[in-house]
């Protein structure tokens, strides 16, 4: 009852940017060495070979990692739990917390507003965010209707320029908030990067995929 030999293409989706630097040591531990072009910041390539002939790496935005893996275009991936909370794809398994890319998702508002603000009186808030679903759920859970303005970056500008009073965004050190005269008023969730796995791939290529999960698990131990 075993599935056939495991040399079908295996695609690993990794997020661009900051998280990628933290993923590199893990890749090294699990024995995946990307081609040289992967580390060339000027490269326009999106798909990379590795030392393993059947393993390819794609480099996409964190939100798109979840989409590629959910649709089975990639089999494994690394993405933040913020993305998983926002989309909640039933086709994604999240077997491992990689313990990297740690930050939090929080509500922030201008410092002077927070001095006089009483959140218990809110019935409606207008919020600029990259995470409309998380935001709506967070406020709905306490009986407040959230009107979300979807932005893809530079959330911190919105309150200053009068787009809205509040934002929901990732916060790691809080320096960006401070520089923009904002203060964190509510913590929504702690965020870290997860190993994500396509459900159909997990079922039909179980031994192979479970093998990678085990190797990443060991890698976390070694790296920590």
């Amino acid at each position: 009852m075993m599935s056939p030999a495991a040399n079908d293409l295996l695609v690993l989706a990794l997020p661009k940017g900051r998280i990628l630097d933290e993923v590199r040591p893990l890749l090294h531990h699990v024995g995946i060495v990307p081609e040289a072009d992967f580390d060339n910041p000027k490269s326009r390539a999106l798909k990379f070979d590795t030392n393993l002939p059947h393993v390819k790496i794609i480099r996409v935005r964190s939100f798109d990692v979840a989409t590629f893996v959910a649709f089975g275009a990639a089999h494994l991936g690394v993405c933040g739990s913020d993305v998983l909370m926002e989309f909640d794809y039933p086709e994604l398994y999240t077997p491992l917390d990689l313990g990297i890319g740690k930050c939090r998702i929080a509500v922030a508002e201008p410092v002077d507003l927070s001095a006089s603000d009483d959140p218990s009186r809110w019935s409606h808030v207008r919020v600029a965010t990259k995470y409309p679903d998380i935001t709506r759920r967070h406020f709905a859970a306490r009986g407040v209707q959230a009107e979300c303005i979807k932005l893809n970056g530079a959330m911190e500008l919105a309150p200053n320029l009068g787009l809205c009073s509040r934002i929901v965004d990732l916060v790691s050190t809080g320096t960006t908030l401070k520089a923009n005269g904002l203060v964190e008023i509510e913590h929504i969730a702690d965020i870290s990067s997860r190993l994500v796995v396509n459900r159909a791939a997990f079922k039909t290529r179980h031994g192979e995929i479970q093998g990678w999960i085990d190797r990443f698990q060991e890698a976390i131990g070694n790296a920590g």
Binding site: M1, M2, S3, P90, L92, R194, K203
Partner: protein, 387 residues
């Protein structure tokens, strides 16, 4: 490349979200695949029923079908002044037939069906709002042999249409709830446990299950290719009430392995999503490299919690996903008949299995005409010649 139709035509061509036209050769291919699946069901003693597209809402959405309410289009029947629903799943309709008009038919009752369903919303993986279902229900027997028969039938029907890399994932969706009840988990804890298991999230599971984390982690770990995973599951020290569910799973796995040793079977005892109304061994059908599920099925009771209900099991295949697991339509032998070809000659060719296409004009270059009309052959004085 762009060949934009005039505005008026474009307006006519645009279909509502999730609905589409199937064109040649795909429409014919789909019909043939559905026909071959039904034939395989028929050869195994399953007889076809054909419920209507629309029913009264109370009947369509009663019992366990109530969960389909938010996926069902409603229309008012101007004749009876009652609300009707367009079916979004055929299984409850077939169960209804078994409990009403066929209540006196001898058991075990084996029924098959094929038809289109319509849903209010597509899912993230299947954007289509209309798609085909082909399936069977086996009503009456409450034993592992019935579960095994159904699973083996799904596998043999899929192989009869040429599906490759089929893999059947078995679960008993009653197992985890039974364990949770035995441990008296609170509703909140259970909800968090379910969410963690649904995503196979070991970290969240450890947090949600608290002192019972190692028990649930070992159940989670007992998934994978069947014989080995069943052994791991058997070794888990779990509350007695859950042992019956585990035994059912082991029995079915044993029967399938004996009947079809080459079939790829995995188990996943924490798989519960979409099996909320299943009461025993259930399964999902995957194919290597194919997005989404080819079908799913499992044990339930007709009439849901109603004590007059009967034990039953069955499965539904989704035609759109099944087609993705198959090679495309194979080319047919299609021959162009020049204008004036004798009718009897054409009839003789059709009797030999040719598809005939009659030319409707005198063409100077018949070979070119044959190609233009997607014919593989042209009828010449010496019979069909390839073009």
């Amino acid at each position: 490349m762009t060949d934009t139709p005039p505005k008026a035509l474009a307006a006519k061509a645009l279909l509502p979200t999730g609905l589409r036209d199937l064109l040649p050769p795909d429409a014919e291919h789909e019909a043939q695949v559905v026909g071959r699946l039904l034939k395989e069901f028929h050869r195994h003693g399953y007889e076809r029923v054909k419920p209507p597209l629309v029913e009264f809402e109370e009947g369509l959405l009663s019992g366990s079908a109530a969960s389909l309410a938010n996926q069902t289009f409603r229309i008012m029947d101007p004749v009876s002044q009652r609300m009707m629903g367009v079916r979004s799943d055929m299984t409850p309709q077939v169960a209804r037939i078994a409990t009403t008009r066929l209540r006196k038919a001898p058991r075990p009752l084996r029924l098959s069906y094929a038809g289109q369903v319509l849903r209010v919303k597509g899912s993230s993986l299947r954007q289509e709002r209309q798609f085909g279902q082909v399936g069977v229900e086996l009503i009456g027997p409450d034993r592992a042999d019935a579960d095994a028969e159904i699973i083996l039938l799904a596998a043999s029907a899929l192989s009869s249409v040429g599906a490759k890399g089929i893999s059947i994932d078995l679960t008993v969706p009653t197992l985890v709830p039974a364990v949770a009840r035995a441990l008296s988990l609170s509703d909140d804890d259970y909800a968090r446990l379910r969410a963690a298991l649904d995503h196979r999230d070991a970290a969240a599971l450890a947090e949600a299950a608290g002192p019972h984390a190692s028990l649930f982690l070992s159940i989670l770990g007992a998934s994978g290719p069947a014989p080995a995973a069943v052994e791991r599951l058997s070794a888990v020290d779990m509350p007695d009430v859950a042992k019956a569910a585990r035994q059912e799973l082991a029995d079915v796995v044993r029967l399938i392995a004996a009947a079809a040793p080459g079939l790829s079977v995995t188990i996943d005892p924490v798989e519960m999503r979409g099996f909320e109304y299943q009461t025993g061994v259930s399964f999902t059908i995957f194919a290597r490299g194919v997005r989404g599920e080819l079908g799913r099925g499992g044990r339930y009771r007709t009439g849901g919690a109603d004590p007059v209900g009967e034990p039953a099991t069955g499965f539904t295949l989704y035609t759109d996903t099944v087609l993705r697991a198959l090679p495309g339509p194979s080319p047919v032998k299609r021959v162009l008949l020049p204008l004036g070809t004798d009718y009897a000659d054409a009839q003789a060719l059709r009797a030999q299995g040719w598809h005939t296409v009659a030319a409707m004009a005198v063409a100077s270059d018949l070979a070119a005409e044959a190609k233009r009309l997607s014919c593989s052959h042209l009828l010449t004085a010496d019979g069909p010649a390839p073009v």
